[in-house]
C-alpha cells in the first residue's frame, strides 16, 4: 500500500486541531487549534492538485516544459484562503483582547458561567 504522506500530515493537523477544540478552554488555545485546522485544510487542497513528477505551474521564458504542470487552481484557492484565515485571526485576537479587558480571564468556560 502506498502511503500518502501529504494527506497524513494534512488530516493529522486537522484532527489535532479538533482535539484541541474539544479539550481546551483557553481562548488563545482555541484560536491556535483553529489555526492548525486551517493549515491542514490548505495542505489538503494543495496535495489534491499535485501530480507526481509535475512541475510548478510557471512557464520558463522559452515556453518549453518537460514535465506536466500541477493543477494551478487549488493553489489559487489556497492563496485566497490563507489571506482570509489571517484576516479572521486578526479579528479574533482583537476580540480576545476585548474579552480579557471585560472579564479579566480568557477561560471560556468561566466566562460562559459569568454570562448567566
Amino acid at each position: 500500500m502506498i502511503i500518502f504522506w501529504a494527506y497524513i500530515s494534512a488530516i493529522g493537523l486537522i484532527s489535532i486541531g479538533i482535539y484541541g477544540l474539544l479539550m481546551k478552554r483557553h481562548a488563545f488555545k482555541l484560536i491556535i487549534s483553529l489555526g492548525l485546522i486551517s493549515t491542514g485544510v490548505n495542505l489538503l487542497l494543495i496535495s489534491i492538485g499535485y501530480i507526481i513528477g509535475g512541475t510548478a505551474p510557471i512557464y520558463p521564458k522559452n515556453l518549453n516544459i518537460s514535465a506536466p504542470m500541477v493543477d494551478p487552481l487549488p493553489q489559487a484557492l489556497v492563496l485566497t484562503a490563507i489571506v482570509i484565515e489571517t484576516a479572521i485571526l486578526a479579528a479574533a485576537l482583537s476580540l480576545a483582547i476585548l474579552m480579557h479587558r471585560e472579564y479579566g480571564t480568557l477561560d471560556v468556560r468561566v466566562i460562559w458561567r459569568r454570562l448567566r
Partner: protein, 235 residues
C-alpha cells in the same frame, strides 16, 4: 477530566482514520487532468493573457472576483482591528531606545526595502511569490521607520485614505473593464488593446496593474494593522 481527554483523543483518532481511508482513495499525485478547468488554465494562459505564471493568471484574471473579495476581507481585518481597538488611545507601543545605528540604517534601508517590495509585486506574472509578500515587505519598511524614529507614527488619516484609494482603484479597474469590454474585471489591456510581449515586464495584460494596486493596498493594510495595534492603552 481524564475521561474527557480520552474521549477527545479517541474522537480525533477516529476522525483521522476515517478521513484518511476516505480521502486516500482520491489518489495522491495522479494526473487528474481530465480536470476540465485546471487543464484549460494551463493550456490557454499564454494565449489568453501572455503571462508566464499560471497561478497569478488564475488569481487575477480568470478568478478575479475572488481576489477582489480577498482584498476586501483583508480590508475588513484592518478595519476590524481598528474598531475593536478604538477605545485604547495613547502613544507608541515600543519604548525601545533608538541609537544612531537604527536611524542611519533606517534612512538607508527604508527606500531600498520599498523598492524591493515594488519589485516583488510588479514581477508576479513572471515569477512565483503571490501578491502578499510584496505588501509585507512594504509594511516591514514602515515598521522599520516606526522602530528607528521614535516619534514617527503613520497618521491614521493617511492610512485610511490610502486604504480607501487603493481599494477603490481596484474596483475602478474592474469598472474600466466593464466600460471597455462589457464585463466587470475585463482584461482590457491585452484582450482589447493587445499590449504585451511574452516574457517581458510589460505582459500579462492587466496583471501588473492589478498586482501593483493590491500590493500597495496590502502594504497599507498591514501598516494599518501595525498602527492600530501600536496604540498604548494608558487610559
Amino acid at each position: 477530566m481524564i475521561i474527557r481527554r480520552i474521549f477527545a483523543a479517541l474522537f480525533a483518532i477516529f476522525f483521522f482514520i476515517s478521513a484518511y481511508v476516505l480521502i486516500a482513495d482520491i489518489g495522491f499525485g495522479n494526473n487528474k487532468m481530465d480536470d476540465l478547468v485546471g487543464k484549460y488554465y494551463i493550456e490557454n494562459t499564454i494565449k489568453d493573457t501572455t503571462a508566464l505564471n499560471v497561478v497569478s493568471t488564475v488569481v487575477v484574471n480568470y478568478r478575479g472576483l475572488d481576489t477582489l473579495g480577498e482584498v476586501t476581507v483583508l480590508f475588513v481585518a484592518s478595519v476590524s482591528v481598528g474598531v475593536l481597538m478604538a477605545r485604547f488611545k495613547g502613544s507608541k507601543l515600543w519604548n525601545v531606545s533608538t541609537t544612531p545605528i537604527h536611524i542611519t540604517a533606517g534612512r538607508i534601508l527604508f527606500p531600498l526595502i520599498w523598492i524591493f517590495g515594488a519589485y516583488i509585486f510588479v514581477h508576479r506574472h513572471l515569477t512565483p511569490g503571490g501578491w502578499f509578500p510584496g505588501g509585507a515587505v512594504i509594511a516591514s519598511g514602515v515598521l522599520l521607520l516606526m522602530l528607528a524614529f521614535k516619534d514617527y507614527l503613520p497618521s491614521s488619516k493617511l492610512i485610511t485614505f490610502s486604504e480607501s484609494i487603493s481599494g477603490s482603484l481596484y474596483v475602478l479597474v474592474g469598472l474600466i473593464g466593464l466600460a471597455i469590454g462589457g464585463y466587470f474585471l475585463y482584461d482590457f489591456v491585452y484582450r482589447t488593446y493587445g499590449i504585451g510581449t511574452i516574457g517581458t515586464l510589460i505582459s500579462g495584460g492587466f496583471i501588473p496593474i492589478v498586482y501593483t494596486i493590491i500590493g500597495v493596498k496590502d502594504g497599507v493594510e498591514l501598516s494599518g494593522i501595525l498602527h492600530h495595534l501600536s496604540r498604548d492603552d494608558t487610559e
